[in-house]
Symmetry: C2
Subunit: 178 residues, 2 copies
């Protein structure tokens, strides 16, 4: 993570994890990837991240096996970045970080996460309180909450406004009627 790059003296898996995903923007890139963002330009407009930083982060994330760069069309050559198992494994951390942020620093709820089978909101440990099972990430549906901006500027935010499963790519991104 920047500068010293490592937490040299730390003998700790938390420090180890932070060396990899602790840099600025990194976890937000992973979050977006789990939300279904795949393409360089979509990350760019959704995050408002400087291009150089995005390129650097995508490179280290693919280097660490958290995202995978995958060619999805030959001409013109276009790549997408897809979360690997290792990236997906960050979901509990991101969920609990988001929960903490919401409970302590946000007035209104910005998004709901629900169990696709029953519509129940996911509990604090990632479980469905109704079904009493841990909900795998691909069975989580995300939808906007009362605090969400109904008319965001960028098309990616707008696409994320309609309910969708996590991990499901946000492909079509059809042009809007003005």
């Amino acid at each position: 993570m920047a500068l010293g790059k490592d937490y040299a003296t730390q003998e700790c898996s938390i420090a180890r994890a932070l060396e990899i995903v602790g840099e600025r923007w990194t976890l937000l890139v992973v979050r977006d990837a789990l939300y279904g963002v795949r393409r360089y330009n979509d990350f760019l407009v959704h995050l408002g991240i400087p291009r150089a930083v995005l390129a650097a982060r995508l490179q280290t994330l693919t280097g660490e096996g958290i995202l995978e760069k995958r060619r999805y069309q030959q001409s013109p050559p276009r790549d997408e970045y897809v979360p690997t198992e290792r990236g997906i494994a960050l979901w509990p951390t991101l969920r609990s970080l988001g929960l903490w942020g919401r409970e302590h620093f946000t007035e209104t709820q910005l998004r709901y996460f629900r169990h696709v089978d029953c519509g129940t909101e996911i509990g604090p440990y990632g479980e469905c309180p109704a079904c009493r099972t841990v909900v795998p990430i691909e069975d989580v549906v995300m939808e906007p909450g009362p605090g969400a901006d109904r008319d965001p500027a960028d098309p990616v935010s707008r696409a994320l406004l309609r309910p969708k499963r996590l991990l499901e790519p946000l492909e079509p991104l059809e042009a809007e009627p003005t």
Copy 2:
């Protein structure tokens, strides 16, 4: 968090959380606080963090209500930094981040976390698999695993080597016999 300081365009509780605890060192300071570190100097030697950065982090953490600065002796005036409820609420996030780091980037286990009532190792969701309950942080005992350094240089690491409950202050810190 540094530079832009905020993730301006992000309307997201994860981004909000990262604005507060996403800076370099911050989460390691909180981790140490949960492990029982209380005093400026103990953070300093245990983390190997620059003094100025530590001072800055402690200030923002107390400012955000994550740690509380508390005078514990009058002369000479000495303060300790204690995690508040808001700081304690970061435990699930830190635990799951550490779990991710261990599973994906570490060969040997550096620490065990066990349920004090039964000695069972805490499960991936913070639960005790034997008792089938979520274990509150003060009922978690931390002890070194096979990968831990048996003879670390700084006294704080050495104090953390013997099993102790989380949150329990690591006070005495007796001088060592040479």
